[in-house]
């Protein structure tokens, strides 16, 4: 039950893109076409889940255990950068087809603030999900990270669909490109606000 709440909350209620504003740069950058948006979402999903798992363990068993919390930001970003590199190398060897699909997006992900944002949030913030507020356990953290990245994908794919339609329409000159995309994102965020309060 609790995991269900985490999933609904992370995908709809607190959508990472539309209500927390994490990872907006690639959201605007690669959402022109549905196919690239799907590729990016897949890569982000993979990296966020893996990065959260690794940073959670590093934080608990290295940084906190030795009183090195002040290295948190540095350690996390290095882990994420290394992880992205590793995923790239492994993927190239193991599944060239998947690498071909996700490959070009992988290097971009290091500077996607959604990855670092989720990793930091998970170890510093208290969450509720229908229980008294508490720090997340490892399983909860991984489920939360996965669900959050699915939410990222959902928003990304819906939005790229909208933008594909926009591209064919006659938009006033000053609105062309990013401005009209931002306005439509605003309306989409308005729609997602309808979910607020669904999960406490």
């Amino acid at each position: 039950m609790e995991y269900l709440l985490i999933i609904i909350s992370a995908i709809f209620v607190n959508n990472i893109l539309l209500s927390q504003f994490l990872g907006v740069c690639p959201f605007l950058g690669v959402s022109n076409k549905l196919s690239t948006a799907t590729g990016m979402s897949g890569a982000v999903c993979f990296v966020i889940t893996l990065a959260t798992l690794v940073t959670y363990l590093i934080n608990k068993y290295l940084l906190v255990a030795f009183g090195l919390e002040f290295l948190q930001t540095i350690a996390f970003i290095l882990v994420i950068a290394a992880l992205v590199q590793m995923v790239e190398i492994v993927l190239k060897k193991v599944s060239p087809s998947l690498y071909a699909a996700l490959g070009i997006f992988l290097p971009l992900i290091t500077t996607n603030c959604a990855v670092l944002g989720v990793a930091i949030n998970v170890v510093t913030k208290e969450f509720t999900f229908g229980l008294p507020s508490h720090m997340l356990s490892l399983t909860e953290a991984v489920v939360y990270a996965f669900a959050t990245s699915v939410g990222y994908g959902v928003a990304m794919i819906i939005f790229s669909g909208i933008r594909e339609h926009l591209a064919m329409n006659d938009v006033p000159k000053a609105f062309k490109g990013v401005p009209i995309a931002l306005v439509s994102a605003g309306i989409l965020a308005l729609a997602f606000m309808g979910f607020s309060g669904l999960v406490k």
């Binding site: 539309l18 209500s19 927390q20 504003f21 994490l22 990872g23 907006v24 740069c25 959201f27 605007l28 002040f70 290295l71 948190q72 930001t73 540095i74 970003i77 290095l78 950068a81 290091t110 500077t111 996607n112 603030c113 990855v115 670092l116 944002g117 930091i120 949030n121 000053a174 609105f175 990013v178 401005p179 009209i180 995309a181 931002l182 306005v183 994102a185 605003g186 309306i187 965020a189 308005l190 997602f192 606000m193």
Partner: protein
């Protein structure tokens, strides 16, 4: 390019928010009020100037293959320093901006300037470039914050001139996207004349 131009180009011609479209996450998330936007801009300015200077100083000695990780480590160091300072001296602002202070590390503006400018220019030029881009970013964030605060709460910098609540949607997530979209239209209209 003269020293003055180095500084001023970041404010209008290469404005990070409206022209280069960089650093969108903090732009949207922290501009719920004028003062929040201003503080976020200044925090980024601090990191930008220092990291630009440090990177321009070490760039000749860093092997090409590891330059990105090295830059990121340098930026992360300054961000963490800023984090401690804010916790100690302005805890209120730190609590409001929260997650977005550590996230300056992955702000594309900072790494972007390191890659595009600081690693091939002198320390003073890099500092001026960082200052210009930082001031440009701060201005955009403050303007967006002012607009959202007026529409959403009927006040500017906490000074209330309309009683009542205002249109709350503008303080919340959708308003961020809408306001930025329309400001960009306005900027395009004015800048391209």
């Amino acid at each position: 390019m003269s020293k003055l131009q180095l500084f001023t180009k970041g404010i209008l011609k290469e404005n990070p928010t409206f022209v280069l479209l960089l650093g969108m996450c903090p732009t949207l998330a922290t501009t719920t009020s004028a003062i929040n936007g201003l503080s976020m801009g200044l925090a980024t300015l601090f990191v930008l100037v220092l990291s630009n200077m440090a990177i321009s100083a070490i760039a000749p000695y860093v092997p090409d293959k590891v330059h990105i990780p090295v830059y990121i480590v340098v930026i992360a160091t300054f961000v963490t320093v800023l984090q401690f300072m804010m916790q100690a001296f302005v805890p209120g602002i730190y609590a409001t901006l929260g997650l977005f202070i550590p996230l300056i590390v992955v702000n594309c503006i900072v790494l972007g300037r390191a890659e595009a400018f600081a690693n091939k220019n002198g320390i003073i030029d890099s500092a001026l470039d960082g200052l210009g881009i930082g001031v440009g970013f701060t201005c955009s964030l403050t303007v967006l914050g002012i607009v959202r605060e007026i529409l959403g709460g009927g006040s500017v910098f906490g000074w209330k001139f309309i009683s009542g609540d205002g249109m709350l949607a503008f303080v919340m997530a959708p308003g961020a996207f809408l306001c930025l979209g329309y400001l960009m239209v306005l900027f395009n209209k004015i800048a391209k004349k």
